[in-house]
Symmetry: C2
Subunit: 504 residues, 2 copies
């Protein structure tokens, strides 16, 4: 009896040991933020991004809800269910249906639509010029547009049946239905629609023009990394730009960062090393593992590079602090100085809640990255600015399976939307898409950076960062940013002129 | 007690009367056959449609099964289920991956793929010329490609959950996956794919090139009525061509048909009239209602016009019989003579099983027409060759709801695939599609009959009928058919030449 109990205990312990490393390895790895706007800690309080809001009064914006079909590609009775999808219109500047005045449509991405719409520059800035009707549509499963009357929280994502309806193809189909509906209710069958989006929303805008050309006459796809799938580009492309940004800012700053990793990992691996690092980096609670610190720091560097916006230029800010620390400051002290230059000298509570900076992505977006939006970002031997493992699909499968009960379909995005041989495929196919990028944005490496044809145009700036041109124009804009915006407007004006010439 | 029983009885009778007309009105209305090949009774036994089969030995065709994803646009665990989808390859003439030789892909439509593939002319005829790899893919839910291990029969369509996965968007996604897979297993990433289909399959081919240009380099869409949705064309377009075909063949023949309807309905409404009509038209069992006879006759006229192929020319055959009946033959006698000229003098059993001619569409296709393939064919005041009511969406909804528990989504095809303002929308969008038609085919009115742009070309013949150019070339082909085929081949050769020029 004792013998069999012992045997059972050993078996159990063996199983525990067998599975423990798997469980501990399956924490869901977050991909860098894919969003038009940087995290709060990065925002320059001196810069008012709502600079053009004076053009628009909140009362011009009308919020509506569309009875949206739950599943456009399935005919089970449940697929016919509907949910209320939020969209907002502003017709103050619209020239009307008689003149077939255009419609500018903002395609919402992986967040709530919010309440302030004047921050979408290409819409609010251009409404008077184009005499455009403005429309903003919330992406399904975000904000107030969640099926089954649920709210955007974890509960939603615990239901494996409900979240199945949550993906980009359904979202594009939603946009198609709502835009058709809006043209109907405004009695404007001939009004051309230009769709606009940034980041993931930029991908949606480009894909929408490709898949629904009969609904959108053109697309402005801002900072849309449509090539960050499968092996279309090297997996370390993102961090290679982060590295380049810092290196170009200051070689010595970069060297300091590079050196810091050996030191961090050396200290961290010693007994009591985590306590030392906790104190050094002022973490509010004691580090449980070195990865928590590493993730925090990597996120700061990535965010600084991605949102390296004028006039603050976070990469410059950090490197100035790292390079300019008082003589005698050690390497980790310099790194801390760099972090403090961005984040504030001592966080919010006299210390840094490390998770507060790294946990910047919503549960909903995690779901998307575990189904089709499998963006294979990872480190490589060439990357020394961060310590990141190469992207590992098997690991990712394991994480997603554990979190959501299903594994990603990494081939699907390239099968449905394409990407391979994009220049050859699209040179005679499609038209009226602007791919805009800023080359200091790590995501830009997965953007379209050359003209694919006369109708599919790349407009980029050397100095630009992520989604800068989605912000409203402002007096403090740099000349290159102003020029990028003007180019975009000029191209859209050509589209419209061609369209009206054909209508006549 | 008696009083309340009586009250109950009256209430029940009242409800019966209330609902009876609805029930009796909800028989599922069949739309005319949408298939490359005519019904059996129309096939000319003297014509061997497998004329080019000498090029291909059955052993060159390899049948394979692909583990296909059940639902490409949903991420419920069930969506990840797979089913075995049949496809067939023939690499006998393929020039190989080193020369990036092309792939000709036949997209299966609303029927089993069958076993004889040499009857798909554009593939079997052109394999040697193009040094092409041939591939034929069965449409999901037809033939051997049915999920859940079911067979193609009524049982399948009794399950409202299973049939939800059965629609054209999923079918196109299937084709995309299989074609990608085939390029992988043949190691041929640069081999351009041209997709080919006829009728519904022709719609799929055109739509596939529009939605998956990165997978198909071009499409030959034969007799594809992509505009027979919503109000893109008049609902009576189909019968207006049937009428025109007969009228142009013989004015007197048309007049006889026109006259016959008043006579048929007049007799049919008399006591014992149905018996009279049964005897007159040699129906095997006594007519239960006049609609059964009407449906039978309408189907004969429609089929004759749709498959009005050389050398038999069914419309001519019928009109010759109608006009040439012995002097003194009454109107109905002439109609019968016309029918007999096509169908044989006395059916199979010395009489006609009327349902045997009208029930030509599968249950599976009925499902498709009750979800998204809502083709609004109906009569009008202008149509006198048949007695058909105008298309009635409410009626259709009722029929489909009763049959399948869900109602059609008539707006979806035009929302997902487009169709409105097709010339304006596509003049600068898309390329490499041939829309081929024969103008005697009633479906042709819903086809693309003018060039939309330099890359989207209409190739039609005045004399042609439905899907003639999908048949293999044959010695008995008319000059205009040969010319149509040559035009198509010439265009495809240009696509390939441009493609290879770009590859270099």
């Amino acid at each position: 009896m004792l013998r069999s109990s012992l045997k059972f205990l050993f078996q159990w312990l063996f199983l525990m040991l067998l599975f423990f490393p798997i469980f501990s390895a399956t924490k869901l790895r977050k991909t860098p933020r894919l969003s038009p706007f940087g995290p709060k800690f990065l925002r320059d309080p001196s810069k008012n991004i709502f600079s053009s809001s004076s053009l628009h009064s909140m009362k011009d914006f009308e919020t509506k809800f569309y009875e949206q079909t739950l599943d456009h590609f399935n005919y089970q009775p449940q697929s016919y269910s509907t949910f209320k999808q939020k969209y907002v219109t502003n017709s103050r500047y619209w020239g009307g249906a008689n003149s077939s005045s255009p419609i500018l449509a903002y395609l919402g991405a992986e967040s709530s639509l919010g309440d302030d719409f004047s921050y979408i520059g290409p819409l609010s800035d251009n409404a008077p010029r184009f005499k455009a009707l403005l429309i903003y549509i919330e992406h399904r499963f975000y904000g107030e547009s969640i099926p089954f009357g649920l709210e955007e929280d974890a509960i939603l994502l615990k239901n494996e049946s409900i979240r199945g309806y949550f993906n980009s193809e359904q979202a594009l189909a939603d946009y198609a239905e709502i835009l058709r509906h809006v043209k109907e209710i405004f009695g404007a069958p001939k009004s051309p629609i230009i769709v606009v989006g940034g980041s993931y929303g930029g991908m949606l805008a480009a894909w929408f023009r490709l898949k629904y050309p009969h609904i959108a006459m053109g697309a402005l796809a801002i900072s849309a990394p449509i090539l960050y799938f499968e092996d279309l580009i090297p997996h370390d492309a993102y961090f290679s730009v982060v590295q380049k940004d810092f290196k170009e800012q200051s070689e010595s700053c970069f060297k300091t960062i590079e050196e810091s990793w050996d030191i961090i990992y050396k200290i961290g691996s010693k007994p009591n090393g985590l306590s030392l690092l906790s104190r050094k980096f002022k973490s509010c609670s004691k580090l449980k593992k070195i990865d928590d610190l590493s993730e925090f720091i990597v996120n700061i560097y990535s965010s600084a590079a991605q949102y390296n916006e004028p006039p603050r230029y976070p990469v410059k800010l950090m490197c100035d602090a790292i390079d300019g620390a008082p003589d005698g400051t050690d390497v980790l002290g310099r790194i801390l100085a760099g972090i403090q230059s961005l984040v504030g000298s001592d966080g919010n509570r006299g210390c840094y809640d490390l998770r507060g900076y790294s946990d910047y992505l919503t549960e909903s977006w995690d779901w998307q990255t575990c189904t089709e939006m499998v963006i294979p970002i990872g480190g490589s031997d060439n990357i020394t600015i961060v310590r990141e493992k190469p992207f590992n699909m098997k690991e990712r499968n394991k994480q997603c399976k554990r979190h959501y009960g299903v594994v990603p379909r990494p081939h699907w995005v390239t099968t449905y939307y394409g990407g391979y041989d994009i220049k050859m495929v699209l040179r005679k196919f499609g038209s009226n898409i602007i791919f805009s990028n800023g080359l200091r944005d790590p995501w830009s490496r997965a953007g379209v950076l050359e003209n694919l044809s006369d109708g599919l145009l790349a407009v980029y700036t050397i100095e630009g960062s992520h989604c800068l041109d989605l912000n409203p124009a402002s007096e403090i804009d740099t000349p290159w940013l102003t020029e990028q915006r003007e180019k975009e407007i000029e191209i859209m004006e050509t589209w419209l002129a061609n369209y009206y010439a054909y209508l006549k």
